[in-house]
Amino acid sequence: MHWEGACYFHDMSLDWKRFVLILATGAGAGLLWNAASGRGFAIGRSVLAQAGDELVTAADAKVLLGRGALFLDARPRDFWKMSRIPGSLPLPEEDFERGLAVVEARLRRASAIVVYCSGYGCEASHVVARKLRERGFPAAILDEGLPAWQDAAGPMDSEPRP
């Protein structure tokens, strides 16, 4: 039994080994649960990616753009109006059917299709690309979206559109 009167800052009686053990045990339990519970997911890649998704890196996407691939912007239309990958067309996730009707003729002529949105946390490009695939258009997804594109010095068109 001990009734300590001092602030722990002064007596330094915190046990750092216990502290590290709590962190390590918690992290280990989490990894184990993820691996063995059946409720986990693959840690090594984006949780948004599904079987059947085709991802292209920003570097590969730049090559495709140079070859005339069609780029589609899955963000809300106002973002596309502000800035976009040059030559891209808007096909917002929340306005897919209407947007598809506008771009469908271009899709049929495209040698390759790349869908992008605002980053690794953005699911819109995945959703739009899957919907396009369901309709027979082989659309790829720009991996980690516009931030990765800009990191790879991909060009942007920032002229406002009506």
Binding site: M1, H2, L14, I22, G30, I43
Partner: protein
């Protein structure tokens, strides 16, 4: 003030509240790791793979530290763990707010992607904003009291006990 911070009942109350809070906060995230990972992505702090690791490990650290606080085992170290988590959450929230990112569900308790706008609790308690920062600062204060201020002797304990040497090693037989 120092007396209040060292009150045994005050410590017990803080411990049960903080422990219960963190155990409750961990459960939905543990049950749905992938859904929680999506929410961590929305914070846009660390890229997909580090976000995955955080989504898988942090809820279990919350659960363990919360259970230890509730059970009164390794109290100070568990409180320090909670304090560390809160510092990490506050740093991440500051980054989110500084960059003007809109995170509708902070993932603090629930991993639900979309809820009716009228649902209780109101939206401003769920997103990353001033309420979350204020709440985490209060929780950080509570965790710091538990980690860094030892409780004084409860009523009925031997007189003069407070003056005893405070190092645990000295209180134990060698």
């Amino acid at each position: 003030m120092n007396g209040l911070l060292r009150g045994p009942r005050f410590h017990l109350l803080l411990r049960l509240l903080l422990g219960g809070f963190f155990v409750y906060a961990s459960l939905d995230k543990i049950w749905s790791p992938a859904a929680f990972a999506r929410i961590v992505y929305a914070w846009q702090v660390a890229g997909p793979v580090p976000s995955n690791l955080a989504a898988v490990t942090l809820p279990w650290i919350e659960l363990l530290a919360g259970l230890l606080l509730l059970g009164g085992v390794w109290k100070r170290e568990a409180a320090l763990t909670v304090a560390l988590l809160l510092v990490v959450f506050l740093a991440a929230a500051s980054s989110v707010l500084a960059r003007g990112i809109d995170v509708e569900n902070c993932g603090c308790f629930s991993v639900a992607q979309a809820e009716a706008p009228s649902a209780w609790p109101p939206a401003w308690t769920k997103g990353v904003g001033g309420f979350l920062v204020a709440r985490n600062l209060v929780l950080l204060g509570a965790a710091s009291v538990l980690a860094f201020f030892s409780p004084s002797r409860p009523r009925g304990a031997p007189r003069g006990a407070e003056a005893r040497p405070s190092r645990e090693s000295e209180a134990l037989p060698s």
